[in-house]
Symmetry: C2
DNA sequence: CTGAAAGCGCTTACAG
DNA sequence: CTGAAAGCGCTTACAG
């Protein structure tokens, strides 16, 4: 019950595997293969349930029709959706995708890049963690197609796809302002990623433009973490205090923080949006203020 | 700037690639390679940043150190977490994983299985959609290692990993009963999957055992869908009716339905758990009544 | 202790 | 129109 190979077909038909290869790759016309012969080859291939060995193909051609995806965490619904779209589009083009979660750790992404290089992926889609500039630069030098997603390094010249974080954040903040909110807080993390910074800047710009002004006590910059104690603490500071210093709206810069935040808010028995309005970036199950733009990525 | 191969190293050192291969695969001892020579090989390999070509290796050995994962939808947080764990464990063992979302469609999973076969994956982890029994049987016949996850087919003899859905559901229902709930509803989907059925049965058993009895009007079996209209409808039926017929608790059989349900409930302005208690299966951001058991899956 | 050689399953010039 | 042959980069009996 071995898998059938090109050779098996060639032998059984008494022709060369060259010919079989041509036929099965749809080059019958190009090489003017005898119509009848071609039919026979196709028939037998079907009968034997021939499946080309992609590994052998890959070795020979240097193309594996595989793309490597490195994101922060596939368990994060934002990246889950992203991964889904990428996988789907890739499948449509006949590509496979190997998923890697870097957990925002540059050590991890470095290993993963190496692993993907060994696997001879045809291209990369990467949401780079902080401090991975060097890895990315190296990768670009290696000439393998690469697109950065959701993040980018301003100082590196590469393809990238991001939402306009500045704009999205600016708009979201303005939205809250338009609703009459006066004390709009920002809860974000301390990752020095261009997209996070843009989100922060958009928020500030909206406050300044509207004349509300930036209030430092309303900006909570928390260490990146999987754990919600910091968020809980921040929420308490923003809501359990003098009436005059309370936040009446909170903008979360990531869906993860948004989810944690919502939990905390409801634990505190606060009403949304009565006590405090909430807007979060890329929250998959609630507001969607920004939609991830995923497009056809990569065909050689 | 080509990638360096075994041959490059061998040539530069004036030795055979056989020897280089032995050294680099840690078989120096086994073949009693000259210690000094071995050192030189290793040094040069490092200097040239040698990366073994896994594709060539794969072709030669028939092992790709790759596993194929087919799940319903990677964007679903439950599967996201699962995928994450699998990826992580696989990486630890030096394996790559190719992700596929079948979207519960057997046509899709069939294509995906074929694709993975062509890629010569070493093993499969599959959460099979309905009506994919045949595909699974075929796969088992092909002798490639396979483990079913989250679902299984009672009539097929295979490895599988599932939570004890019956038990989990039974316990969850009892939990609600213990809290004094009398009219506990079940919102589930119509997928004829063993795990869904088990969840339903567990629920019923608990009701019967406690003497509350099964009330058909409290069981809502909805068509599987990405869309929340059916759930919304069901919620309304369960909550907006005569006091005597209202549900005072709802058990959702999937986290997706649970999330939709929570949205609907809050839209209706109902209070949880005041008006209605809610328990949901594998809800990643709220109650966790069952934890997915993921263990080391597969080393050859 | 080390090397020459075969072969994994393909593709693709080259020749006729 | 079709086939013999080389080669992708590795591993692994086999020989010495």
């Amino acid at each position: 019950m071995k898998k059938t190979s090109l050779n098996d077909i060639a032998n059984q038909l008494g022709v060369s595997k060259t010919l079989v290869s041509f036929v099965l790759n749809g080059k019958s016309k190009e090489y003017r293969i005898n119509e009848e012969l071609a039919q026979k080859v196709m028939a037998l291939a079907k009968e034997l349930n021939y499946q080309p060995n992609r590994i052998a193909q890959g070795l020979r051609t240097g193309k594996t029709r595989t793309i490597g995806l490195i994101i922060a965490d596939i368990a994060n619904p934002f990246f889950g959706k992203l991964g889904r779209e990428i996988e789907q589009e890739a499948a449509k083009q006949g590509y496979r995708v190997i998923f890697c979660s870097s957990d925002e750790k540059p050590e991890k992404s470095e290993l993963q890049i190496r692993m993907l290089q060994q696997s001879l992926v045809d291209g990369y889609i990467i949401s780079p963690p902080m401090n991975s500039e060097e890895q990315i630069k190296k990768l670009i030098k290696s000439k393998t197609p690469l697109v950065l997603i959701d993040r980018y390094f301003p100082q590196i010249d590469s393809n990238y796809i991001v939402v306009d974080n500045f704009d999205a954040s600016y708009n979201a903040t303005n939205h809250l302002i338009a609703k009459g909110r006066k004390r709009i807080a920002l809860v974000t993390n301390n990752l020095q990623l261009a997209n996070m910074i843009d989100r922060q800047e958009g928020y500030k710009k909206a406050l300044v433009d509207s004349g509300l002004g930036i209030k430092e006590e309303l900006i909570k910059i928390l260490p990146f973490s999987h754990d919600n104690t910091d968020v809980a603490q921040a929420i308490k500071e923003l809501t359990l205090c003098d009436e005059a210093k309370k936040a009446d709206a909170i903008l979360f810069s990531t869906s993860k923080m948004g989810i944690m935040g919502l939990e905390c808010i409801s634990e505190l028995g606060l009403n949304i949006p009565g006590d405090v309005a909430v807007v979060s970036f890329d929250n998959p199950d609630a507001y969607k203020i920004c939609v991830s733009p995923v497009t056809a990525i990569d065909h050689p």
